[in-house]
Assembly symmetry: D2
Homo-oligomer: 357 residues x 4
């Protein structure tokens, strides 16, 4: 029953969407790392809503206040605590959700599990808003990783029926990763942006929402990172990625596309290149036997369509135990995939840093 | 760096393919559970190789010897240790693998990580053979879960281009689950077996291998199992499932198929049925906000084609650092998907039991 | 490298003595527990300094601000985050400590470990001030335990050469525990207070400090709490208690006095009393084989004399690597034992609650 | 509910005194460490019973069989599993213990906790015999530590009323540590051996047993080992040490003797010596703020008198719930302190290695 994760780098996330504040504590960071706060704020801005039509117009001012662990811009080695105040929330919108659970949301199981005592407003602790402290922590982790030569960047692989351009998994350049990590609508082929935005707009106009896939790359890792069997790169990243609300699947390299392949066509053969062992392809996404093999890490996560839609839906009244219908008011994202990009990057950064400490 | 996992139910797996023995320790089981050893052996037989053409003819006698934690057929509450001796192994087959790593295998990153000291014979600790103790532990976990009313069964969803029959995720019966859990070539629609076997035979004849997907169901769980954020049903199951060799992706319910869906078509609406809250569909695979919602749990894992194939492949000589070619001799499965079914069931059982303790 | 602890109840403590704020996150609490904030503030006041001559006159206003996890006075089941602002701190007092480490303080090893980047002001993250969030968390834990029938109270067993009155470990009444838990100078025999205060005053007048022992009782636990071997009541409580600054020893029941005893004189024999199994004595402090045996839990922790004293001491200049002398200015407790009482209670409460979840 | 411990170095202990076998799995060891099995067997022999009158004449042949993790004498990086068969056990001796619990033993709480399903024979999983695999694991850990320059040795500080000679905690030589670690009746001043043996013999003749204290030294650690607050040298070592049966107290340096001391007399001042920072005394036992400070680590554990004595004791019949008397037959140690020496060394080695990985 835990919003905490990690072995050496421990992250503890707290807060409820419409409570006093949200935030996190990151424990185990090395001392003496210079933090670039502009970089951190940039990542948080990439996640923040209200930038354009793909996201909710609700204005959040997600300015993280750092309470500890940083002195004169450097990490002290003590835990970093970060608090983000909740402002501009309209609690009234959610008043009936305790009684009538939103389909495909946490409302119903949370009601049962917490016996009705959970904070339902805005989804409470299950709100997507809780990804803001994850992005804060991830942005810090990225900077520690950067000192170790590791770079992380993700892109929107797919929204609805529109896919981004293809990427050669065996040739992920530093330039590409840095470029992806700086964008707010992150694509390999930016010419697809308009098509994707149309897809989202179509959903919005139908009072509906649409899902997608975020694909994340990490380069610069040494060979052999990741432990035996259950403490692998794949296990560790998956357990954090599934902590991100709306993620319903995680795969490495070809992932589910391995199902109908023959080994001869997807095995990543080796060659010697400039005196180093290199793979000729990277269908395994940089992970073999749970360990990094020197090729770029490629991991993707599917984001289900936001379940909060304005369309009328069937639900039940938990007080009267009668069938009823539900119309969700308030402002909701027709597509959270673009905003999920820095969240996925953060989850990957936190997992990799933990394994490398 | 750990082959151990779990919070309340701790599993520690040990052994190397061609070493003295493999086995595991399961810590945290309740006392007083009557174990049905026939059931345990049946599950182990489902995983064992050599039953038919889909698997390697190497004969393993995977008879687990229980060293502790069981008295007069009941669990004592102390850790259960299980040892499976290694017999009938031909170490000679693997002699050159330390020098020339097999593509898409753990060989190369393990060589770097362990500085050449790892036991390379048969893949060592990374061998698929290490799934035998996982199945033992899972079979024990299943029996403890059964006492709690939870049943688990998996099927081959796909091998190569052949898929199993469709299943209504919202209507997984006890009959179906029990039936799947007892089969050695587990399908919902057994008429697909021949097509699938042909797919495997085709790979075998081409000195190749083929991948697939295993889908697992769990029924009978109460509503609200699973913790906050990172300690969820999804995070927990994924971290164990990715510990199974060859798993490259894990998804719940529709999983990656959520990417091109609208919420209105995939949201799981509610109704009152016989005085209970029920979903009208189960696209989320029984998990919302990381918690069970009362619908059957549906989780699937993709298994990549076994990388050990007889076809000649390009690799490198790690001693001379020159390019070379590799022909893998010995007997290898052209498809491990059928044998992976009880392993996936076991991983799911272990994860769910841990969450329910 | 962690200021976080716990398996089911996870506590993450953050902050530095003279930083922005200190606080903690408590994860895993059940939902629906009504919190009595007056009780919480009372415990925090028991720990707060400046009440009398035994403690530093520095005025702290340790008012915890709760950011999450509580709604309308009840726990929501989400993590509780608590922040206590740092005010009224004089950083100037500590300016030279980075260069000249205080004997018997964390200064020197922290300097080496964090490469000089740690926040040295007031001891930074190692400050006794960090026990304030522990007491907050412990006060919450105590209330959850109270609902389970478990009560916790501690007393000053010894300060310098003065001991508290004797207690029959086998007969710790609810009345005694509640009384101890409400006192600010907690003694079984309050007539010893003056003697103890004299002992402290003597140290203060000599620009010195004095140590002592806190003994804690917990009653109302069921038989059999605590796990196998390493996850026992003793291991769990010790690992938290040693997290409290200045604790240098932990013992259960007779503890170190067992060394010169014969079993025949200290074994806790059994009798049937009112239809229940009871011990005739409680030299084991309520724990056998790491499990509760129904007798009161008795655990004590020794608190070393506060190393910050005004007397001139020998130290070294870490910059010049020359011998030097150090005079510590500022206001420091000549004895922290009275203030440690609620901290020890809290550590015990957090450990027991974790084991009982 | 766990016989497993550790973060990076995970130890999982299994077995019951009169079951098939006992043993352990050690996970997380580095690859390429050459193991000296003679050294391992020596440590196991130091723990083994039957060497002389201080211990039980029951002959154990504790020859550990290594099943995995070692190849050609070097660690492979995979988990090391070790099995020790149980032989020469007389189960009949313990037949009535389930009904009439031995005072001060785990019998009664275990009976309640495991609902009567635990293996009571010889104490089952709670038996002191379970320290054999701990010593095996510790002996392995010691060899890994030796490669890092860390040496560990313990001595009998006290048995009954007889104490070993005094040791200058600030001047623990390599010679002393190596000497202690090689003895079977380990003393700093071996002339005390006869007095101690007399003390034990006196207890034996009275059908009684006697307690004592083991004190352990570790030298060669770098400054700054140990984490923040709860993950310190003290917390980590204590949590393992309290896992050793019969340990009822753990202290560092002066430990409980700090209670009546003034800081001015016990603070460990600093000086520069040969260009290095050294303490002038070592009352803190090498640990400040939970971190190593470069001085030798000094930790002691009190061992209660073995509760199994031949003298008639009062107990209860759990079936009839009537008072009764108990005479324990069989062969039992009048003093386990000498045999506990290598166990305490092992616990310290395992804890320190875990912190240093």
């Amino acid at each position: 029953m835990s919003s905490a994760i990690g072995e050496k780098i421990k992250l503890s996330v707290f807060g409820e969407s419409h409570g006093e504040a949200i935030g996190c504590v990151i424990d185990g960071l090395p001392a003496g790392v210079k933090l670039d706060f502009d970089e951190i704020y940039k990542d948080m801005a990439r996640r923040a809503p209200g930038k354009d039509l793909t996201s909710t117009p609700r204005l959040e001012k997600d300015i993280p206040k750092i309470l500890s662990g940083v002195l004169d811009g450097f990490t002290t080695g003590a835990p970093i605590a970060c608090v983000i105040e909740n402002t501009n929330t309209k609690s009234g919108d959610y008043s009936n959700l305790m009684t009538v659970p939103r389909p495909s949301h946490s409302d119903y199981p949370a009601y049962v599990k917490y016996n009705g005592f959970n904070d339902i407003r805005g989804g409470g602790h299950f709100s997507g808003r809780l990804t803001a402290p994850i992005v804060f922590a991830g942005a810090v982790a990225k900077q520690v990783l950067k000192e170790k030569g590791v770079l992380i960047g993700a892109h929107i692989k797919q929204i609805g029926t529109v896919c981004d351009g293809l990427v050669d998994y065996n040739d992920i350049t530093e330039e590409l990763v840095l470029s992806l990590a700086s964008k707010s609508f992150s694509l390999v082929d930016q010419s697809r942006e308009e098509l994707m935005r149309n897809e989202v707009e179509r959903a919005r106009m139908s009072l509906d929402s649409v899902g997608g896939i975020v694909e994340c790359f990490a380069i610069g890792l040494p060979v052999g990172v990741g432990g035996n069997m259950f403490d692998t790169v794949e296990s560790r990243l998956a357990s954090i990625l599934f902590g991100v609300p709306a993620v319903k699947g995680v795969q490495f390299g070809l992932g589910f596309d391995f199902a109908n392949k023959n080994a001869s066509s997807v095995n990543d053969e080796y060659e010697v290149k400039n005196g180093e062992v290199k793979t000729l392809s990277n269908n395994n996404g940089g992970v073999l036997g749970g360990m990094t093999n020197g090729a770029p890490i490629v991991v993707s996560a599917v984001i289900k369509p936001t379940p909060s839609i304005a369309k009328k839906q069937r639900s039940v009244n938990l007080q009267t135990m009668e069938n009823t219908e539900l119309e969700i008011h308030g402002r909701h994202d027709p597509c959270i995939v673009p905003r999920a990009v820095p969240v996925i990057e953060s989850a990957v950064a936190l997992g990799l840093l933990d394994l490398m400490m």
